[in-house]
Amino acid sequence: MHIKEETKERHTLAVIVDNEPGILARIAGLFTARGYNIESLTVSEITEDNRISRITIVTSASAAVMEQIIAQLERLVPVHKVTDLTAFGPHVERELALVKVAGTGDHRIEALRLAEVYRARVVDATISSFVFEVTGGSDKIDKFLELMRELGLVEVARTGIVAISRGKEAA
């Protein structure tokens, strides 16, 4: 017997929650308990009084499961609102990465040149290394990392995706 898999689609969700202890465990635990997948999850407080947090979740699921994920998230007591930005329409997704590259000579010069092309900033430098700060969509960062791998990539830290809808209205 083999276990069957369904076709999945990638969605980005914005989840507005009360900033109470355990809220992240509640959300992350809901995903594991119900067998949903998380590709990326970011969280930060977004109000002046620090009482509300925005959690951005990137997940892949079939349309039916996607509907369930949203309904299950909305059912959690501390959740204010869930927005499926992918279904909502045009939105901007960004991610930040810190990329450490070590090397000398041509590799070092090439890394710096490519960093310029990718609008990565140098935030730390030694004689034999750089730390680049690069922002953009996940594809751009993936591509930048692919290039850096050839030139002496040492370490990467990525924030995961944050996203917001385009236009003047809140989603």
């Binding site: 017997m1 355990g22 635990g29 501390p78």
Partner: protein, 585 residues
């Protein structure tokens, strides 16, 4: 205003919320609360504490109390093992939507996270088996958290809420004032259904040729009024009604529109009606796998309306044409009003009813009797005939006896049927009966049990004795974990791996050891007199009713089969299943 200890605040808040009974078990981390209970015991309207013999039983007793009275059940247990023992009952209440508030003691805040004696991460452990949970960090917040916990447990789709209170918070002092009605900042369940959708549902119903009402536990949870309205709507429209295990009693079993339960052990007529219907209206039911059978073959030619208070229940297993979010009682009221306002005549469903009556001719609940052995179905029917005039409250354990009780005992009213549906928890029935008896001191309360299940919370015989509760236990003793054995017969060529109930106790002596009356029934001529003897005794009675050992529960839809692939008798059960079938539950 003077300050009070956290323990006193807790008791006062519970009292303000109208709590009459707490089911609990003391321990180190709840001693301040137990002292507060002791000190209020002589006051008028004091909260009564019922000392169970195991924390799991406290939760099931609270469920039985809640399910039979409509009020929330309240549990009090200590930290660590007290809380972990309660987890099964908490999960049970989540699956069956039972309003319950569980107060757990916790080690003092300074010791949390140090692996202190009897420390467990109760909030972490119960996060996914509660509707919501709290760790109280300061006595100032305790009062409002308790009020909020009751609000969440009892409103919307009901469920269990855990409030974990560290011992120092029980001792520290603060002011308390009853906060009054709660308006929660995020939690606002939608109870009022969309009027346009109600109208659409009513028009679909008026146009349907083969409608079926598929009702569930939501009708019971909505309150007795919802059951009355269901009867009214069924009478107005002439639609046949079937129900899940949790919804039994919403429509009286004696009603001519009653088809019996549907699903895996449902009736032939209910399952065929679901399969051939052109319109299914689900009232507070969640299309559980035990109900639907194979999903792609479930009610294939019908349009489906789903009325539920929980949005996440909609389109979870089965896609529906018209979802209506709201309280099912309100929805029923509005459907009736709308039906009248639109002056729909009573539809002519003669042809549909002729087909249904044809399926009824299968007489799917009939069973064969051989020799002197008591067939378990016969035992349930005899119990029903002997007690129906007293409108008994029936609880069950889990297994064959539970399904036979659901099939052969007729329920005429809501809140009379207490069973573990979603989680399927053996050991539920006796503590649930104790809880129900406390809520209804004058009612006849019977736990229909199996010899295996009853042993899972047998220690509660002492609880019933201590509080002089005249609970009856009726064990259908076939010396097997019968449902396991039935599945082994069906799936594994009768290789009865570990399903024989070996080394059974002498149940009569066991009952007597706890101060109960014990009765053994053996052979058909003893059945009615034995039941009469049980009913005549003013006090708790355990009946060990020896039944046919290898009887199986039919009809049965095997896991993963369609409603139309029902097995009606034992001859159809045999052999070995393929791996796909073995992997199903």
């Amino acid at each position: 205003m003077t300050e009070k200890s956290g323990a006193d605040i807790l008791i006062e808040a519970l009292s303000d919320l109208g709590v009459e009974v707490i089911f609990g078990y003391p321990g180190g981390a709840v001693l301040p609360i137990y002292d507060a209970i002791f000190k209020q015991a002589d006051k008028p309207n004091a909260i009564k504490h019922i000392l169970v013999r195991h924390e799991q039983a406290a939760t099931h007793a609270a469920e039985g109390y809640a399910r039979s009275t409509g009020k929330p059940g309240v549990v009090l247990v200590t930290s660590g093992p007290g809380a972990t023992n309660a987890v099964t009952g908490i999960t049970d209440a989540l699956m069956d939507s039972i309003p319950m508030v569980v107060i757990t003691g916790q080690v003092p805040t300074a010791l949390i996270g140090t692996d202190a004696f009897q420390e467990a991460d109760t909030v972490g452990i119960t996060r996914h088996c509660t509707k919501h949970n709290y760790l109280v960090k300061a006595p100032e917040t305790l009062g409002s958290i308790i009020h909020e916990a009751f609000h969440i447990a009892t409103s919307g789709r009901p469920g269990p809420v855990v409030v974990d209170i560290p011992k120092d918070v029980q001792v520290a002092t603060a002011r308390y004032e009853s906060p009054g009605p709660i308006t929660h900042k995020t939690y606002r369940p939608q109870t009022q259904p969309d009027a346009a959708k109600i109208q659409e549902a009513v028009d679909m119903l008026a146009a349907a040729e083969r409608p079926v009402f598929y009702t569930g536990g939501g009708i019971i949870n909505s309150g007795p009024e919802a059951s009355k309205l269901l009867r009214e709507l069924a009478a107005m429209t002439g639609a046949p009604v079937t129900s899940t295990l949790m919804g039994l009693g919403a429509l009286p079993a004696s009603d001519d529109k009653w088809l019996g339960m549907l699903g895996m052990h449902g009736t032939y007529e209910a399952n065929w009606a679901m399969n051939k219907a052109d319109l299914i209206i689900a009232f507070g039911a969640r299309f559980d796998d035990r109900v639907t059978g194979r999903l792609d073959a479930f009610a294939p030619n019908s349009r489906k309306v789903h009325i539920d208070i929980d949005r996440s229940s909609v389109n979870k297993n089965v896609r529906v044409d018209l979802p209506i979010i709201g309280d099912v009682g309100i929805a029923l009221r509005e459907m009736i009003d709308c039906w009248k306002a639109r002056q729909h005549p009573k539809p002519d469903l003669t042809e549909w009813w002729n087909r249904i009556n044809g399926w009824r001719q299968a007489k799917c609940l009939d069973f064969e009797e051989k020799g002197d052995a008591i067939m378990p179905q016969r035992a349930i029917r005899a119990l029903y005939e002997a007690t129906r005039h007293r409108a008994p409250i029936i609880s069950t354990e889990v297994g064959q006896h539970q399904m036979w009780a659901a099939q052969h005992f007729g329920f005429e009213a809501p809140n009379k049927w207490l069973t573990s549906g979603g989680l399927g928890t053996m050991g539920y029935g006796l503590p649930a009966a104790i809880g129900a008896q406390l809520g209804h001191p004058d009612a006849l309360v019977i736990d229909i049990a199996g010899e295996a299940s009853i042993q899972m919370n047998i220690q509660e015989l002492a609880t019933a004795m201590q509080y002089r509760l005249p609970v009856k236990i009726f064990i259908l003793n076939n010396e097997y974990m019968g449902m396991v054995r039935q599945w082994q017969e069906l799936t594994y060529q009768s290789r009865y791996s570990e399903s024989y109930s070996d080394t059974l106790p002498d149940f009569v002596k066991l009952a007597e050891a706890y101060g109960w009356k014990g009765i053994k029934i053996e052979g058909r001529q003893e059945l009615e007199p034995g039941i009469a003897e049980m009913l005549a005794y003013d006090g708790p009675v355990l009946v060990d009713c020896r039944v046919a050992k290898l009887a199986n529960c039919f009809p049965m839809i095997p896991s993963g089969a369609a409603h139309t692939e029902m097995m009606l008798q034992a001859a159809e059960v045999s052999g070995e299943m393929d791996d796909e079938a073995k992997a199903l539950v």
